[in-house]
């Protein structure tokens, strides 16, 4: 069954986010020979249209409006609903990012549709599209589908492979004029705090610290390792509760759930609530003084030792081998 699939792409600091390309790849499967339509909205976004073709869009709709300069669910939902109304899609996908999480329930409510949040996998089973999603922060999984009508899902970053970039692909770009009424919420300011610039939920590599880092200064060797690897820095609840770092870094059942290619746990004991947030990472490295620490039960590779000795050595070793390549 060929479907018309709408993908709402997301822009962060004037660039399309990787999860939007992952959504295009998922859309291609769901479209089953139908059409994949990429949508990008903002104050000035037409320059981003071509890239959506390269990653699988058959058609691109741009929505430009000064009221879309900063993201608000109020403004963006008005724009998105007008696009949905003119396209009449069979399915809608977007990233399960801060924006996706914020806006998708509003759209689903307006459209009176179901919504499958935070999908990590997609299967096509005859006429059905079945999504896999974690529950209990990844302690279990469920397979879920929309009963009838519009298929609407948000997909978790880092779980669906992007299509190979094909710069020869191109297509029709349509600019959709939208009317946006007064906004009820206004963004006054955005204070950038994420130091490395790599967002935890999309990071391919994460270096995380637990109580074993002992102080906020104790994160320094972790930051240095992260810098060499282009990684994001995260933390366990223990480290956050002890005030070694900001709560926005917390990984676990309360906090963020992450699935990077590589997770390096430094001085983290491995409480169930932390494991729930990271144990589905592809490869896990544990560095801990205590050979009995629970984290070693989920680690692919472990080093028993003091993180303040091991982490700087690891940073130097990576510097060496990454430079020679």
């Amino acid at each position: 069954m060929a479907r018309k699939v709408l993908v709402f792409a997301e822009v962060r600091e004037n660039e399309l986010r990787n999860v939007s390309f992952e959504a295009l790849a998922a859309a291609k499967d769901i479209a089953a020979g139908g059409e994949v339509i990429g949508v990008v909205a903002g104050e000035s976004v037409s320059g981003l249209a071509e890239t959506l073709f390269h990653y699988g869009a058959d058609r691109v709709i741009t929505v430009e409006n000064e009221k879309l300069k900063a993201y608000t669910n109020d403004g963006y939902s008005q724009a998105y609903l007008q696009v949905i109304d003119s396209v009449q899609p069979d399915a809608i996908l977007m990233g399960h990012t801060a924006q996706g999480k914020d806006i998708s329930p509003k759209l689903a409510s307006k459209l009176s549709s179901g919504l499958i949040s935070d999908a990590t996998g997609i299967e096509i089973d005859g006429e059905d599209v079945i999504f896999t999603r974690p529950i209990y922060s990844g302690k279990a999984f469920e397979k879920k589908k929309v009963k009838e009508g519009l298929i609407f899902a948000t997909i978790r970053p880092n779980n669906i492979s992007v299509l190979e970039k094909d710069e020869s692909r191109s297509g029709e770009v349509v600019n959709e004029d939208v009317e946006i009424k007064d906004l009820r919420t206004i963004v006054k300011e955005v204070v950038r705090k994420s130091t490395s610039g790599v967002d935890l939920s999309e990071a391919k590599v994460i270096v995380a610290g637990g109580r074993g880092v002992k102080s906020s200064e104790g994160f320094e060797p972790l930051n240095e390792l992260a810098e060499v690897l282009g990684a994001a820095v995260g933390a366990s609840r223990g480290a956050c509760d002890a005030d070694y770092c900001d709560y926005s870094l917390q990984i676990g059942q309360t906090g963020k759930v992450v699935t990077p290619d590589l997770y390096i746990a430094c001085g983290i004991s491995g409480a169930i609530q932390h494991l729930a947030g990271m144990s589905n990472s592809k490869v896990i490295v544990a560095i801990n003084k205590d050979p009995e620490a629970n984290i070693f039960n989920v680690a692919d590779y472990g080093i028993v030792g003091d993180l303040f000795e091991v982490v700087p050595m690891l940073t130097e070793e990576f510097k060496k081998v990454l430079q020679t390549n």
């Binding site: 329930p105 929309v146 009963k147 919420t185 590599v205 070793e317």
Partner: protein
């Protein structure tokens, strides 16, 4: 000020998950107030203390939820409401939001607070869906809330960055970790809570048909992730272990 909190009862975060007959078993499981909802309750109590008014905590579930509602009352909420959904067989986030919307239809509310996600299903849908059904604005993942008359200034966490939002009442907000430190119920609080009103409403009492709120999605299967096998603990001198690890990550695991 009429302040409402929507609260969910969830598994304790330390619980392991057991599947029996295709369903998640709750046998012997410890339940708690969803941790993000605790922030919402705490914030509601503080706002009432500063501005006057009343805090009502609303939850959906069976009679068991009374325990968590009493805990919320012991923290300092004034009233609790349990919407009993035991007779509804087919329910999802659309159902929950619709039940709540039906409850709020004839209520006067200035502010509704909730957690930004529950730690079981973690969809984060119910708050925004409810706001949309009530046609009021909403702000998710908030870490600071300031009220000046009708004017509201909010800080919200956006993937580690802080967004400063201006809006006004009536409003729905969902709490992120860092909003506050929820209090523990005090002994006098627990004693007082026993006498505070806890109303139980059957969904039949709401102006709603079961057909209208039937789930839009369905769960086909629930399963546990494959158990991870214990990995390789490296041995030898520390510098050799480090070299070995880098080699393994590059050549065996191929992640760097």
């Amino acid at each position: 000020m009429n302040i409402y909190v929507i609260m969910k009862r969830t598994f304790d975060t330390e619980e392991k998950i057991v599947i029996e007959n295709g369903q998640i078993s709750d046998e012997g499981v410890e339940f708690i107030i969803n941790p993000y909802d605790e922030y919402a309750i705490e914030e509601a109590i503080r706002l009432r203390d500063d501005n006057g008014g009343e805090v009502t905590v609303v939850s959906i579930g069976d009679e068991e939820v009374e325990k968590e509602l009493r805990t919320a009352l012991a923290m300092g909420a004034d009233k609790a409401v349990l919407i009993n959904n035991e007779d509804i067989e087919d329910s999802d986030q659309f159902t929950t939001a619709s039940l709540l919307a039906a409850y709020f239809e004839d209520k006067e509310y200035d502010l509704i607070l909730g957690g930004n996600v529950s730690n079981d299903n973690s969809t984060g849908q119910v708050g925004p869906r409810l706001a949309e059904q009530l046609d009021i604005p909403y702000v998710t993942t908030i870490t600071k809330f300031e009220l000046d008359g009708e004017k509201v200034t909010i800080e919200r966490d956006v993937e580690g960055d802080v967004e400063v939002i201006e809006t006004s009442l009536p409003l729905l907000v969902t709490a992120q970790q860092g909003l506050n430190d929820p209090r523990y119920p005090s002994l006098p609080g627990i004693m007082k809570a026993k006498k505070k009103p806890l109303e139980e409403i059957d969904y039949d009492d709401l102006d709603i048909d079961e057909d209208e709120i039937e789930a839009k999605t369905e769960t086909v299967e629930i399963f546990l992730p494959p158990k991870k096998e214990a990995g390789k603990i490296l041995e030898g001198e520390l510098d050799e272990q480090v070299q070995e690890l880098v080699k393994l990550l590059r050549q065996e695991a191929k992640v760097i």
